[in-house]
Subunit: 333 residues, 2 copies
DNA sequence: TTGTATGCGTTATCAC
DNA sequence: GTGATAACGCATACAA
C-alpha cells in the first residue's frame, strides 16, 4: 500500500494534522519539520490527490477539450492557454474526442464530476445550438474557442475571419487584380460562412464583379484545393485565387503546376492561416496569419476570471484580428 | 452544493447503499429503479469522481505525457493509443510539458498521486539516463515511446530508424546514385544517432565512398535544411541528398530552387517521416513512412498488459519497421 | 505550535 | 433486495 500522512506522522512521531499542515506550507517547529522531511523521503510519500480534491472541493486543474489533440493548428492556442494557466498556478489537462464518437457535450461532465475547475472547448467545427445552450446554462466556468452557434451570453473567442479575408481581397485589388476566384471551406467548419461572406462583401464593396462560377468549394485539404483549382481552370477568366486556407492554396498551386502554369506569373494565389510550411514552399505563400497564441491567452484569461471572479462576468464573444503576410505568390499587375 | 447519493436516496425514499448499487449496475427492484431514475434526473446528479477514486484506488484513466501536445508527428501515435485505450474501457488524458520547464520526471507523480492508472511517455528527444532509470524502478505501469537512453528492462517502443535510412540509401543505389550527401538531425533528437548510423553503415556495405564533407548537420527545421543544402552545394560532388527528415528535405529543395537548380533533374532528394505535405509539394517527396498508428497501438497494448496483467511482464524494447514511399524527387540515373 | 475529532462522497461488508 | 456502518486519505475547526 502507498504510504499516507498517517504513516508519515507515525514515523515522525507526530500527528497527521501536523503532517497535513506542513505539506500545505503552514508553520511547524523546526525540529518537527526535519523529522517530517526525513519521514516523507524515507517512505517516498506522495499525497493522494483524490482525497485532497474530495475535501477541498476543487482540483486546481483546467481541462482543454479538443476534437483532435494533434491538429497542428491548435499548437499556438494550446501554448497560449498553458502559459496563462501556469501563471495562475493551475495545471492543464487535455481531452480529445478524436477517434471515439463522443462529442463536446460529454465532457461537461468533467465539471460535474469535479475532475476540473474549468473547461475550454476548442474545435473549429460548427457547433450545435443545443450543446452551446447547455454550456451556457451550466453554472461552471466554461469558455468556447471557435463557433458559438449564434448563441448570446456565452463566452467565446475566435479570429475575425470576415475581416481577414477582406484584407486579402483588398490587397489583391490594390496590386491590380480585378477578377478573383474563391475556394471555400467545408460546410462543417465554423469559419467557412464568415470567410465566404468576407470575400463576397468585399468584392462588392470594391465594385468588382461577383461570378458564382468562380466560387468553388473544397474540404480544406490539399487534395480539395487541387480539385478546386482544376475546376476553376476549366472555367477560366480570373487572375487570382483566394483560397480559404493554406492547405487548399498548396493543393491549388500543385494543380496549376501540373497543368504547366507558373505561379505567380500565370495566377496569383493567397491562403489563410499561415501554417509553417507556407513560408517554405515555392513560391512562398502570401496568406493571413491567425493570432493563435493570443486566442489561447485570451480564452484562458476569460476562464480564470470566471473561476476566480466573485462578480458575475458578462459573457461575450471576442474576435481577434488576423494579419496579412505578404510573400511571393502574388503578382503585381 | 452539488447533490450526492444521499440526496438522491432521500428523494427516492431509499438508502445511499441502494443508490450506489444501482449506479454500479447491480440489481434493484423495478420500482426503486424508477424512483432512482426520477430522482437522479430531477437533482441533475453526477457522481463525484474524486470520492469514487479514493475508495476504489483506481481511476480507469491512462495518461499520455508529451513534450508538445500539438506536434503533428504525434497525431497518428495518439490515435493508436486512444483506440486501444477505449477498447479497454479506459479514458485517455493528455499532459504536455510544452512551454513550462517541467520534464517527464515530474509526471511520474501522476501515478503516485493516483490520478492515472498508467502512463505513456511520448517524446522524440534523447532521454536522460537517470529519468529512464527512475521510470524503470517504479512499480507502476509505464511505457516509453522513443529513446530509452540505452537502459535495459524498460518497456519502450520506437521506429527502426537504422533500417529506415538503410532502405532509402539502398534505393538510391539501386537507381544509380553513387555519391550521396546526408543531412543529419539535431544532437538532441533520439533518432539522430541511429539514422546517421544507418546512413554510414549502409554506404559502406554498398561499397560506396564515405565523404565526411558531404555530411552536414541540421536542426530538422525547414530553415535548417535550407542552410544545410546551401553548405552542401558549396562542396559539390554528389547526385543525391538523404535528409534525415521531411522538413529538412523541403528546406533543401527550397535552397536548390533558389540557386536555380531543378529537382530531381540536378539532384535527387529523399526525406524521412512522410509528413502530409510531402505528397503535395513539387516535386512530391520520396521518403520513409513511419508506422505512427502502429507505434501507438503497440505502446498502449503493452501498457494494458502491465495494468491488467498479474504476471510480471518482461520489459523490452520493440522496434517497428518503417516503409519506403517512392514519389518524384529522385531521378533514375 | 500541536493533537483530536469531524466530514468530504463514495464503495463494500455485513446483517437483515 | 435492502439499510446501517465502516473504510478510503486528506484538510480543518476547535481545544489545548
Amino acid at each position: 500500500m502507498a504510504p499516507t500522512i498517517i504513516d508519515v506522522a507515525k514515523l515522525a512521531k507526530t500527528s497527521k494534522s501536523t503532517v497535513s499542515r506542513y505539506l500545505n506550507g503552514k508553520p511547524v517547529k523546526k525540529e518537527t519539520e526535519e523529522a517530517l522531511k526525513k519521514a516523507i523521503k524515507e517512505l517516498n510519500y506522495h499525497p493522494n490527490m483524490n482525497a485532497r480534491r474530495l475535501v477541498l472541493n476543487r482540483t486546481q486543474v483546467i481541462g482543454i477539450v479538443v476534437d483532435d489533440i494533434s491538429n497542428s493548428f491548435y499548437s499556438g492556442i494550446l501554448k497560449g492557454i498553458t502559459e496563462v494557466s501556469n501563471k495562475n498556478g493551475f495545471d492543464c489537462v487535455f481531452y480529445s474526442w478524436m477517434s471515439n464518437h463522443k462529442g463536446e457535450r460529454d465532457f461537461i461532465n468533467l465539471l460535474y464530476e469535479e475532475q476540473v475547475d474549468g473547461l475550454i472547448f476548442l474545435n473549429f467545427s460548427k457547433r450545435e445550438k443545443e450543446v452551446v445552450e447547455e454550456m451556457k446554462n451550466t453554472a461552471f466556468a466554461v469558455v468556447l474557442i471557435g463557433d458559438d452557434a449564434g448563441i448570446q451570453d456565452v463566452s467565446s473567442i475566435d479570429v475575425d475571419n470576415f475581416s481577414g479575408v477582406g484584407d486579402v481581397v483588398r490587397y489583391l485589388h490594390r496590386i491590380g487584380h480585378r477578377q478573383l476566384a474563391y475556394i471555400t471551406g467545408p460546410e462543417s467548419a465554423g469559419a467557412t460562412q464568415e470567410r465566404t461572406n468576407g470575400f463576397e462583401k468585399t468584392i462588392r464593396e470594391l465594385g468588382l464583379a461577383f461570378n458564382p462560377e468562380l466560387m468553388v468549394s473544397s474540404d480544406w485539404s490539399n487534395q480539395g484545393g487541387y480539385q478546386a483549382m482544376k475546376q476553376l481552370l476549366e472555367v477560366g477568366g480570373f487572375t487570382a485565387v483566394v483560397a480559404s486556407n493554406d492547405q487548399t492554396a498548396l493543393g491549388a498551386i500543385g494543380a496549376a503546376h501540373e497543368q504547366g502554369y507558373s505561379i505567380p506569373k500565370d495566377f496569383s494565389i493567397v491562403g489563410f492561416d499561415d501554417i509553417e510550411i507556407s513560408k517554405w514552399i515555392y513560391p512562398s505563400l502570401t496568406t493571413v496569419r491567425q493570432p493563435f497564441v493570443d486566442i489561447g491567452i485570451k480564452a484562458a484569461e476569460v476562464l480564470f476570471e470566471k473561476i476566480k471572479g466573485t462578480k458575475k462576468q458578462a459573457n461575450s464573444r471576442i474576435l481577434l484580428k488576423p494579419n496579412l503576410v505578404i510573400r511571393n505568390s502574388c503578382l503585381n499587375l
